[in-house]
């Protein structure tokens, strides 16, 4: 166990000497996909609640597709599937994008988390208090100002507990990245396992690292909720 740690602590945490690996890689995958997913999901969630069908339906279809299929298949399609198409390989721009495992992985992860986040945010928008929106309209706010100043700040706050869940699920989902040759924590654990045959210890270390990240994220989100959801707490 000690030798295993001595030999592998560096790759487990940040680098194997050539590439960024382990914890650093997992955190990078997580933050990149969560960041892209968050940015894209805001306009999509507004479109998702649009009264116009031709705006609402494409978004609905997108979330239906990505929430109804496993992330592993989505990653496989992005990483091996698309690149197996001749049309993609012939196009220089697409070729260089999809040849890189990192691009494919982040693309698949971002698309996946964006679908879930869109549903969370649109649910929060739909559960807006009618009075609040009517008051804002009565004050003359309309169009994007209504969304920017009243609806989105409130909806984003109220979706915080669900959003924290999604972030943790995404952390757990990043483990499939090793199938696309990305050296994340699990990839290092598998390498350690196949080199030393210490199965329980190798995967156990990975489990402890993931557990630590999960608890840290839960703690951070609890702090965020105390700050931004204070208005939902008991009156003082």
């Amino acid at each position: 166990m000690i030798e295993l740690l001595q030999q592998y602590w560096r790759p487990f945490l940040y680098s194997d000497g050539q590439h960024i690996t382990g914890l650093a890689m997992t955190l990078w995958l997580l933050s990149a996909s969560i960041f892209i997913g968050f940015l894209v999901s805001i306009p999509l969630s507004i479109a998702r609640v649009s009264p116009k069908r031709r705006i609402r339906w494409p978004v609905e279809f997108y979330t239906y597709l990505f929430r109804g299929t496993p992330l592993y298949i989505q990653l496989l399609i992005c990483y091996t599937g698309i690149y197996s198409l001749e049309a993609v390989r012939e196009q220089p721009l697409l070729n260089s994008f999809f040849r890189d495992a990192m691009n494919c992985t982040i693309l698949a992860f971002a698309l996946n988390t964006c679908a879930y986040t869109t549903e969370i945010f649109s649910g929060a928008i739909r559960s807006m208090n009618h009075g609040e929106v009517e008051a804002a309209k009565a004050y003359g706010l309309s169009g994007w100002k209504l969304y920017a100043y009243v609806i989105m700040p409130s909806a984003l706050r109220r979706s915080l507990p669900y959003y924290s869940n999604e972030v943790i699920l995404m952390l757990h989902s990043t483990t499939v990245a090793f199938t696309a040759t990305i050296p994340d924590i699990l990839k290092i654990a598998r390498d350690a396992n196949s080199a030393t045959y210490m199965t329980f210890q190798s995967f156990g270390i990975a489990a402890i690292i993931y557990l630590t990240i999960t608890f840290t994220l839960v703690g951070l989100f609890r702090l965020a909720e105390r700050r931004w959801l204070a208005f939902l707490g008991p009156a003082h």
Binding site: T69, P70, I73, G81, S84, H172, F203, A207, L211
Partner: protein, 242 residues
Amino acid sequence: MFDNLLQILGLSAFSLKGFGPILLQGTWMTVQLSILSLLVSVLLGLLGASAKLSSFSLLRIPAQLYTTLIRGVPDLVLMLLIFYSLQTWLSTLTDAMDWDYIEIDPFAAGVITLGFIYGAYFTETFRGAILAVPRGQLEAATAYGLTRAQRFRFVTFPQMMRFALPGIGNNWMVILKATALVSIIGLADLVKAAQDAGKSTYQLFYFLVLAALIYLLITSASNYVLRWLERRYAAGAREAVR
């Protein structure tokens, strides 16, 4: 026959190239694995929830540990950990007891592993649902002289199901999608079948998309069943809105 039909329709690009039976077998494997894991995890969830709500700390603390640890670690990590360790542990046990070598069947190991992982999620679902049943109901049942088993069977269970169903549905979808990962530990499920078919015909994209569509079909069908169940278990519940 199917391929001939496609040829007549001019759709031979969509032919399964003879991989239809393998894909079907893979799909069946995925469905079997999901349903059996669901059963194991529901059972563990009910046990876990009772342990967590028990007044004995000897039961409560292990159950608490189980749900926190399992839910904090990614399912794939646990899957690899348990799947590979299970055999080692069993071999150590058989060696120590001087028994014959027992080899675990990968399918059984997959079911046990998935069931054990999602049992933790079900524990939380059922715990919340049991707590949502009004106390007065249980007190009334006790006052009528129902035994503990009767109280659970006739009072707690039918009422908690209504609160548990959305959670059960959610967990079912997660289990179904998690079974896609078993191909990583070497089970011949739908993903594996699609990958094999795609690699040998050089049409990986087509077969992967096909596998995704099959998953979509299963999730859509389960959505439909779940909505029906929710209506059924909501019988007698009044809703203020709508």
